[in-house]
Amino acid sequence: MTETTQQHEQLRWKLPAWRLIKYLGLSFLVPVLAVFTALVLGALIIWLTGKDWMAAYIGLWQGSFGSPGAIAATLVRSTPFIITGLAVALGFKAGLFNIGAEGQLYAGALLAVVVGTSLVGWPAVIHVPLAIVAGAVGGMVWGAIPGYLKARTGAHEVINTIMLNYIALRMTEWLIKNRTPYILGDPLDASGSRTRFIAASAVLPHIPNTNLHVGILMAGLLTFLVYWLLYHTTIGFEVRTIGANPAAARYAGIRVPRTMVLAMALSGMLAGLAGAGEVLGVERALKTDFFSGLGFDSIAVALLARSNPLAMIASGLLWGGLLNGARLMQVRAELSIDVIKIVQALIIMFVAADQIVRWIYRIRPHEPGDEMTFSRGWGT
């Protein structure tokens, strides 16, 4: 009897939903306190600049989750954060710090736009998946490059991914702004800052009269896929092992360089999907400043979820909500949009360096084994 109960108990913990509850129950405290502390400090900054912080925060709430319209907008805003958060988290699990989500977003979005604009007259059933796959491939290639360089030469992925961000950005600018001949740029657009609009058959399905597209469902699906990949497949095991201890992984016969490239490629693929989703679902064209800052924000989202794929939805929603509510906050309290950027930076700081939060609130320090591997030094 007791044995079956025990088995039952074990089985229950294996279910994803229960894992989520267990996870939240054990470690939600620090991230929540981090967000809270950042908000308090943000209020202090607003107060110091002589503005009404109460009005600002009420505006923030109403603009993000206060009405059905606001919630729909928040969902749309959160989608790329959830997916790129997953991308960064996957890198973290492999001990790789992917700061290059931004470049991978551009790479994915570019290919999605190419497919979205060039094929005309195709049925949506084929066109949409094709454009999404193109986005995935773009991100994957852009992510695999730093992975390969790291595996092959030991060049640190932090520098290489940032360099690739700039290269992707310049290439996008060139493809959009070049006028003789027009490559991807739209001759009808006088400012020359966006591509042509994609064909109607490539647009992601929408709920009529709103911006809410299937991207959020895609984000949910990807969340579970990444969770499944990491914890229920051999590849996931290998990825986590090279993240936890590359030397042990090598000793156990895992091909470390190959797994490294694979992890970066998958991470880039996720970011590319997010880029494709934004282009196909929201803007229907690619602008040069489309993803500015999204790559850095996704790091925060991943850290906020403590790299747990299942927590990424909550973390991404919080981030999207903060950004989406910022507009109303700005209007209500006559604030600069950058205040929300500072609050976000503070959240990142408190979440990433959760030692500060533990120090402020006198929470016991990490237990051994509880620590997260983020990244490694040069050349190792």
């Binding site: 700061i99 060139w174 700081m349 040069w378």
Partner: protein, 413 residues
């Protein structure tokens, strides 16, 4: 990870690279060889200085022959030792080769090119020094970018509000130091992952400087004042190099002084020995009575102040205003320069100048209107030159350059 490396060696890749370039040059210039009125690349050295008329096709063809003939035997593993010097020679030839090719049928001023390289290399050299101080004491600093941004924004703000440009420079240095203090507190005291801590500062810098700019700097009147050029008496009158080296702006001179003094401090003083001891083996240093925490804090803050000075270069010495993200990745390129220089000041200087040259080359190509397949090279391609150089240099050098042994590990007493 060189230990996994099998098959092709790094030198073979380099040799193949030169062999391919050699073939391309030979194919590209062979048709021009026999022509009666050959194109000439005119290289000048300053106004009224000597002029060098180089017959483009002949010189390029001979460089192509050198590349090709040294690249092919370089592919053979057993000749690796003998061909190594040839490959070094090829690397040295690369710079004049590019200049001659770009200036075909036009003229270009070599001295201006050198001056531009030195000017554009200045923030990179300073950033590399900032990284050097931190990393020699065992703390990874990827926050140089953020510290530069802090320095640039607040330095410019100080200029606007006080009207004194030197107060601006001082503020920039101070703010770099404060940002570094945060980095130190997070990574030394609280033992956060050093790369995460650095990223936090980078993100914070974007938010805070953006807020500062939109809330205070945009609305205030501020002329585009920059630090003025200071010619050094006597030295600036030396022909050819005098004008290039000794007729510059103050932060450039400070960079030169800092490079030399850092070299002396690091390798010829007791303090420098202690820094290196802490970076290599903090436990042993601790046992010998060196205060590891204090040494690391001091170095991180000194590094931050230098990064702040590099920030002042952007807003106060060059542009005369502040833009969002105006450092545009230079902090990370500086790190690559530091790695290129194998964590030594003179090496870092060399690396910084290499990247400065890549950037100067971009603008030079633009001026010379270099064409590719019949249409001018897009500006954006030229702008990516420093970034691509960084990736190539990093891929080629890491593994051969050894970082301080204790880097990245928080010290727990």
């Amino acid at each position: 990870m060189p230990s996994y490396r099998r098959g092709i060696s790094r030198q073979q890749i380099i040799a193949a690279f030169f062999a391919i370039i050699g073939i391309l040059i030979l194919l590209g210039y062979a048709p021009h060889l026999g022509q009666p009125d050959a194109t000439i690349s005119r290289l000048t050295f300053g106004l009224g200085g000597p002029v060098l008329d180089v017959p483009t096709a002949i010189v390029m063809f001979s460089i192509g022959i050198i590349y090709f003939s040294s690249g092919i035997p370089g592919l053979l593993r057993r000749w690796e030792r003998t061909t190594r010097w040839a490959l070094w020679l090829n690397s040295l030839l690369f710079v004049p080769m590019v200049l001659i090719a770009a200036a075909a049928g036009k003229q270009t001023n070599v001295l201006t090119m050198i001056a531009e390289t030195l000017r554009l290399g200045t923030p990179l050299a300073l950033g590399a020094l900032a990284g050097l101080y931190c990393e020699r004491s065992g703390v990874i600093n990827i926050a140089i970018e953020g510290m530069m941004l802090f320095g640039a924004a607040f330095g410019f703000a100080a200029l606007i509000f006080t009207g004194n440009i030197w107060l601006g420079v001082l503020t920039a240095i101070l703010l770099g130091g404060i940002a570094a203090l945060l980095h130190g507190w997070l990574s030394i005291h609280l033992q956060t992952d050093q790369i995460v801590s650095g990223t936090v500062i980078n993100i914070l810098a974007i938010g805070v400087t953006g807020y500062l700019r939109r809330s205070y700097l945009l609305s205030s009147p501020g002329g585009r004042v920059t630090l003025s050029t200071i010619p050094i008496p006597l030295l600036s009158d030396i022909p050819l190099i005098g004008n290039v080296l000794f007729n510059n702006k103050p932060i450039f001179y400070m960079m030169l002084v800092l490079i030399v003094s850092t070299h002396i401090a690091l390798f010829y003083t007791r303090w420098g020995l202690r820094i290196r001891a802490v970076g290599e083996n903090p436990r042993a240093a601790d046992i010998l009575g060196i205060n590891v925490y204090r040494t690391r804090y001091l170095n991180v803050v000194v590094g931050g102040m230098i990064a702040g000075l590099a920030g002042a270069w952007f807003s106060l010495e060059t542009v005369g205003s502040f833009d969002d993200g105006m450092t545009s990745g230079k902090g990370f390129i500086a790190l690559a320069a530091m790695i290129f220089g194998k964590w030594t000041p003179f090496g870092a200087f060399g690396g910084a100048m290499l990247f400065g040259f890549a950037e100067a080359l971009g603008t030079r190509f633009q001026i010379l209107n270099v064409e590719l397949w019949g249409s001018p090279l897009p500006i954006q391609f030229l702008q990516t030159l420093p970034y691509i150089t960084t990736i190539v240099v990093l891929a080629g050098l890491i593994g051969r350059a050894t970082p301080p042994a204790a880097i990245g590990q928080p010290y727990k007493k």
